[in-house]
Amino acid sequence: MINKILPNIDIETARRVWESHSHKSFNDLDYRTEFVSERDHSSVELNDADLLDLHEQLSEIRSKYEDKNMKRYGGDVDAEIVESIHSCFQSQTNVYELSQPGFWMWLSNMAIDGFFWGFIKWRFGNDAAPINWGITTSVNFLIEGYFSRAWLKGHKMYDSKYSDPYKYARIGSSDIWRSHILRQEFGQDQEFVKAFLDTIYSNKLNNDKIRKVLIPAIRAWTANATFSHLDYTECKNLLQELIKTHP
């Protein structure tokens, strides 16, 4: 694997770029990109050409859902982009580079002449807040940005031991992921997340039951417990126990 270094922009630049798209006056030459890692003669920088396959895959997804109502199908789009985003970057760089807020701001706002900016605009519509483009100072920037969240889902759940390594990154609605996994304390434990996803689908738990019964039960349990050292089966058994005791 070539360890490419990734372009970054700061939050002020990202804000200016975001606004320039709204005015249709974007020109990438107007903005300066930076690199977090030190550059030397052996450094290979990621550029637009490295994103052409990803561009093609996302364009296909977009045309597939072009005329569909995003309120209904948005979750399907979110699930479909995970593999494309994660596999594109996994093969080109490392986690340190991918954990930089400046890279996701560059990708979401500047890369390929604003292609990714347009994708987010299409997905969320005109009223979407800049945070979806990664424009935030939050420590949780990876969860809040649209493309960084897709990568994070892939990174968190990718498991080469399954025939479909993205199995767990694909299942679960956007709401489940954002509210009930990524933002929760227990969402940090990978084996627990797998068990959680399997539990809610095998028990056919609706959103109301998850939100009002299961999540409070898990929260109450984790006040004095942690799942980080439990394997998948232990997590699954414990979740069944919690469902049994909180009907």
Binding site: T136, V139, I143, H155, E234
Partner: protein, 318 residues
């Protein structure tokens, strides 16, 4: 020169290394060359610091006096210490060590190399947790029966200093023609949660894109620019603080980038306790209205609005 040499020899006496309480078991440091401490302060660095390479987490574990320890369930050798590390940006937590109590006979020093955890990066820092839990599940009739339950835990944190801007401005073209002409700015609330999510998820400060050039021109006017902008900011700040007091969450520690945490820090810088104000505001009554007035005065003082007005020169301006 004398041939005499003086040597001193010291030995650690195991007897005094034993502790009889879980609270005294752990010491920690993440700074290379610094001795582990019982309650180290949170290690803080500015954004961009490479926690993965620069931090050297070192955990010291003292043996426990098994005779002095009273447990509700089982023997201490039925328990172990699990050590977890959590990447604060990726929000992924991993077990990095398990230490059996039956293996702790003297002081143990554990050094962890974060660079070995290749799928984490710690760009926003990390939390190292030591948790004492059962080695195996037992019958549910006992209070502590499941491996997940924690008998005792301690957390050590290394993190980036939070961004201190209270808000950013989002310029927006309004759809309504009347709004386009008349509205300068407003606070758009997105969530009533102001404590567990970042401030940017709670609200946005929206400004009128169509008036942007005019606002910028006003801001740059050296005569009255500062005063006008301060009036706009004062209005926004007052709304943020008043809403924060009404929605103040007393039951949890606020997330560091939340509106509640940011306003709390602003109040502390003024020597005020946000919680006291929130209690009064949430009780309503005349006291809450008085606090509202007090906050308006405090913000104007803080922004020095009157001083800016004083500086405006009227002679020669039209």
């Amino acid at each position: 020169m004398s041939d005499k040499r003086i040597f001193s020899i010291s030995r650690s006496d195991d007897l005094y290394d034993y502790v009889d309480d879980f609270e005294d078991i752990f010491k920690f440091t993440c700074v290379k060359g610094r001795a582990p401490e019982k309650d180290p302060d949170t290690f803080r660095e500015d954004s961009g610091f490479d926690f993965q390479r620069e931090c050297k987490p070192t955990l010291e574990i003292l043996p426990i006096d098994k005779g002095a320890l009273e447990l509700d369930t089982g023997h201490i050798n039925d328990y172990c210490i699990n050590v977890f590390v959590q990447d604060s940006a990726l929000r992924i937590r991993k077990k990095i060590d398990t230490i059996l109590f039956s293996d702790i006979h003297s002081k143990i020093i554990k050094k962890y190399d974060l660079r070995e955890i290749v799928d984490l990066s710690f760009t926003q820092g990390f939390v190292l947790t030591c948790a004492i839990s059962r080695l195996d599940n037992i019958d549910k009739s006992e209070i502590i029966w499941n491996k997940s339950q924690i008998l005792y835990s301690v957390k050590y944190e290394a993190k980036v200093n939070p961004e201190d801007s209270l808000f950013f401005i989002t310029w927006k073209s309004f759809k309504d023609e009347k709004d386009k002409r008349n509205v300068v700015s407003y606070v758009a609330w997105k969530s009533e949660d102001i404590s567990s999510i970042s401030s940017e998820e709670s609200f946005e400060v929206i400004a009128n894109e169509d008036l942007r050039d005019q606002i910028k021109r006003t801001e740059n006017n050296k005569n009255f620019g500062a005063f006008v902008i301060q009036l706009v900011v004062e209005k926004i700040l007052t709304e943020l603080i008043i809403q924060c007091l009404y929605k103040y969450n007393f039951s949890t520690t606020p997330e560091e980038t939340s509106l509640q945490a940011k306003i709390d820090s602003f109040f502390k810088s003024k020597g005020l306790v946000l919680e006291d104000y929130a209690k009064i505001m949430q009780n309503n009554g005349i006291e809450s209205l008085e606090k509202h007035s007090e906050i308006s005065v405090m913000i104007q003082n803080s922004l020095e609005v009157g001083r800016s007005l004083e500086k405006i020169k009227f002679g020669g301006s039209r």
